[in-house]
Amino acid sequence: MTSDELLDRFFNGDMVALAKVISLVENRSPDHERVLARLFRECRNAYRVGITGPPGAGKSTVVDKIAMHLAEDGTEMGIVAVDPTSPFTGGAVLGDRIRMKDLYKYDNIFIRSMATRGSLGGLASATKDVLVALDAYGKELILVETVGVGQVELDVVDACDTVVVMLTPEAGDSVQAMKAGLLEIADVFVVNKADRDGAEIFAIELQSILEIKENNMPKSSKPHWKTPIVLTVAPEDRGISDLWNTIEKHRDFIIREGIFETHRKLQIKHKIEQIIENKIRLLAQRKFLTGIDIDHIASGVYEGQIDPYSAVNKYCRLKEFENIFEGDQL
């Protein structure tokens, strides 16, 4: 099947075609730029909610419950769940679907698991493009579950409109939240596993940390968003409708204040910069590195015959590149 035939099926609402388009984008297949160009043109600004937090916090369970909550209204939803690729073998076990069993019966929900494939920011490097595919397909709401390795995962901030940070009352978590910079990225905090001891105290602690941050913020006349804390017991569906209402409030707030638009434009700017960087890198590799044996040069540097800077000047024809710009008032 050509990619045009595939796209025709995709725009006819064929789920198999959606899955194949996602693979094509994820694998950076030869045709992916052309396909993505088309997908970008069909985007309708689906709302994107990111769910992040340490391993086992209950991210998948919460995603499952939110989706369940909205499924019956017929909301078109996409779910993207990211798990880590083993740096040693390149393989991965993607297990988030275990918690999303009951969603299979809804045709308005599409779930896709992604491996990070070497990316370290909490999402795979193709995740944002996969969100574009889901959007172009007609999804209105996309839930994105990050890897959750514990450290701050900044990709989710760039990729999503509302970032939900999930924590659990386990000792040390609130201090850790501060250390890891989770306070800065959270639009909504969830204290999940509220059935466990210490949940209330944990939430109060977190609240006071948030208040300190609030008081330290420069005074401004513009309304700003106060990060709320929601307590949940995800497997029992407790607190989930509260959580969804809070997410909707944040959505309404950022749309009303123009933050949504600014943020989306920033995302697009990042995408454009990334396209330019990729193109320049590829061009430069072709121009300067074809026919050059870097291993050989590295041996030379190791043996002390040359330093790496002089080696680049000597072997990589950089002068030709500089000549292009000569005389230009850059």
Binding site: M15, V16, A19, G91, L94, G95, R97, I98, F110
Partner: protein, 131 residues
């Protein structure tokens, strides 16, 4: 770059997931992306997940005796839903007569209990070479 993706599911009502998890990890260690969907998967769940995840292979483990119900239904649904090209293999306690019947129906291979993971990994590698 294309990565080979494999769906691993536990069909039937038994709660023994140790074996399938060991296989899932072995496949990961061999460099595959394994989507593990957990226990009690119905044919409908398996097929939908396989299609959404655009997998190259489906592995189903059944210990509860439900194999003659689950495998044929999975094959049928795959045909119906546009996943007829995805090969299916299985594992579990399956009498050899049933094994032959299932393989005739189109299940590519059934591995019995106690199969070494290296044997499964080798089979997958050899088979997905043709995909």
């Amino acid at each position: 770059m294309k990565r080979i993706r494999i769906l691993m599911a536990k069909g039937g009502l038994d709660g023994h997931s140790r074996g399938i998890k060991v296989v899932a990890r072995a496949l990961r260690d061999a460099g595959f992306e394994v989507i593990y969907t957990g226990l009690h998967q119905s044919p409908g769940m398996i097929v939908k997940a396989a299609i959404q995840e655009d997998v190259d292979l489906i592995g189903i483990s059944i210990l509860s005796g439900a194999h003659m119900a689950i495998f044929p239904k999975v094959l049928e649904l795959l045909q119906l839903e546009g996943g007829g090209h995805i090969p299916v293999f299985g594992g579990g306690i399956i009498p050899s007569a049933d094994q032959k019947r299932l393989e005739k129906m189109g299940v590519k291979r059934i591995f019995g209990p106690g199969t070494r993971t290296t044997e499964i990994v080798d089979w997958v590698k050899k088979n997905l070479g043709d995909v």
